[in-house]
Amino acid sequence: MISAPWVCCNCLSRTGKTLFRRSLRYQSTATSGNVPKALLTRARDIAIEHKVLSEKLANGFDTRAAKKLGEYSPIVNALGKWDKASESVTELTSLIHDSTTDSELRSLAADDLEETRAQLAAASQSLITSLVPVHPFAHLPCLLEIRPGAGGSEAAIFAGDLFRMYLAFCNGNGFRTGILKYENINGTSEAGVPLSEAIIEVESDDAYGVFRCEAGVHRVQRVPATETKGRTHTSAASVHVLPSLQDNSSVQEDFDNPESDYYIDQKEVKVEVMRASGAGGQHVNKTESAVRLTHTPTNTVVAMQDSRSQHKNKEAAWALLRSRIAQSRREKREEEMANMRRSVIGVAKMGRGDKVRTYNWGQQRVTDHRSGITVHGLDDVMEGGQTLSKVMDSVRGWLMERDVEALIAEEAEKK
């Protein structure tokens, strides 16, 4: 009698599970042809606002409105294209499902439908991309800071590897770089010795947008050069990416430039001068020359009464108000930067656990744990070649998906 061989139930269930699991990827979701409803309503709202703004601009120029209009116009264009594509898709499907259409027309429509569907997918993709807000610092140059994490001197060697990888990547992709700091574990800047800290400045514009996805803990799994018994070690190095904000003083000094810290909209300031109560004019002769300015959005009050000339007091008060507002803006920005630095990577997150990417020498693979991509050209990655670009692209795509999700959640919260 043939009996079924004994199989462990755990093994049995695991085979089923692995089969089932491999086909699914939780981290990244492929984009389909339709745009989420929340995003679509947002796009429509923006289109309406765009219309209002352009009407307003036709009547008179306003710097803020013009800037907003410039931000909105790609969204409105993408929405227009998407509307067109979706309309033609619905038309074609109705044509196919309609029983009265003759067979020749139906086959033509079926041929056309596929192409139109592809157009719709492209249009929805571009609509989603345009809706995702660009990171406020994405256009800036950036600083890459590389430090060894857990894993002793092996981590320091790997940090050096990462340093060379990024330099090679920048050279290969036309980013201008400058090395702000390079320090090995001996405290000198001699190359070839394990790295203790390095800071690369990527001077090209838009660098922060490209390298933003690199921030985090990079894990390495290999047999270190220092290992004598051939065991595989797991170590980590951390990469910080920060936008480099340059103070271009010419913009800062210009009071009329809305980009400047010193810029104050005249409409937002309430000017009060001390007036005689009662008749005024020739009836009274007062010596009061005090001026008080109130900046309504920040509730900053400046009073000036030093000079006998009201005019001079007003000028002095404006200068003081400008510098106060600029100071508060600068502090706010610095706080934002400090928050960002803290959020990029906390001290507690320096271990091997919260890694963003793994470099495995044994299997010659690189896996990014955020987008879930795995590539096998480890050497090409370490030389900063095309494979690294591929990994970074996939992470940027993943970041954008997160942004889209956040956007949808935000829209849902609004309702």
Partner: protein, 457 residues
Amino acid sequence: MPRIGNSLLRKAHALDPFLPALLAPCRDIHAAQNELRWLRQHVDRVAKARRARGDTLAKGSLLRQLVSERASGKPLQYILGTEYFGDLEIRCRSGVLIPRQDTAASVTNLVRLLRDAQKLPPELRLLDLCTGTGCVPLLFRHELYTARDDVDLHILGVDVSPKALKLAHYNMQRAHRSMPRGKMRLIRADVVLNPFADQDGDALPLKVALNHSGLPPFWDILVSNPPYISPSNYWTTTTRSVRGYEPKLALVPPSIASQSDTEQGDLFYPRLLEIARDVEAKIVLLEVADLDQAQRVAQRAHNLSIFDGIEIWRERPDINTQAPAGVDNVSIIGEGNARSVLCWRGAGAAWLGKATASAGRDDALRLFRSYGHLPHGDASQAGTSPMEPQFDWPTTPPSEQDLPMAFHNARIARRSRDRFRERLSRRGTGLWTDHPYPEDYYFIRTSFGLQKRRRKP
């Protein structure tokens, strides 16, 4: 006026022994502190100047003297000798009205409107009646020249007081040194004097004075800060310091028999509006005391029916809170007490950026009518008054031949303008007073007309 509390006086004394005395005119400890600081700065400046000359000065006694003067109510501007008027520092002397900040606000606002004008005449003429220290035309000039430089500004200041003219002359020279542009001149004339009445005073009526000085009879802008306080208001609303130290001549119009209190307060305005018509001013800005007076003046200007628009400006006309237009489409602009009345006609509307402008022909016709040469309104109604000259006036606008008088006037105007320009070009730039002080001359009536005589020193 309420007494100043003992606690406040003690507090002031604790801060500075001079402060309690200054509380009397200032009423407020912060104001008193400011004034004391300015007085100290003044004393320091005087001491420094004396030291430069090799003199010495006891600072303490001078300061004590100045504080006691101020405590008795003497205006700080007379003590320090200057007052800031807008961006300018204007010299003040007793006997001449101290410039007020409210006036500066009106003038600045007028220039703010004018400097955005697309098309200003290359030669802009400004007539300032009752000029006092000369502050109004000087601020106008300063503000206009800092904003644009395509205009040649000609200023004429008129006042009846020799003291005021002397001070205005000093201020003009100072202003001209710091910004040598445009032309400035001062003449002595009496604004309210009827040009057809017998002349007994030593000041001439404005029209005669203009003729006599060889000045043009037509001016683009007329501004004035005339005396406008009625006798009863003088005793009730003005402060003690104003009554005690500032000239009554600059505050209260002269009294004429059989005239009510309000009429005396408004005495200057009918004359000023008539002058505005005679000099064909395109923009008129008159300072007034309050909203009631402003509305009376606006009504008068409206009755003259030569202006395209009339506005009442409050103390802060730059704040754009426009009240709905009231009677006769007079809108009230700004915040605070009503401070001035603005009227414009013809090209003035475009200069001010106002929408309502009438065609040149209508404007000339209206101006012509307001002299009483032509009947107002309908031709059928014109015949009702037997005193009015009778014209068979067609309902359609008249052709050029029908307006001989107007074109005769225009020709004379052109000729006199050309003469004026020629005079200017011959003199070159600069102040064109050829004698130091205008009041060094006087006029006598002789059998062959008026004669100008130099006063013996």
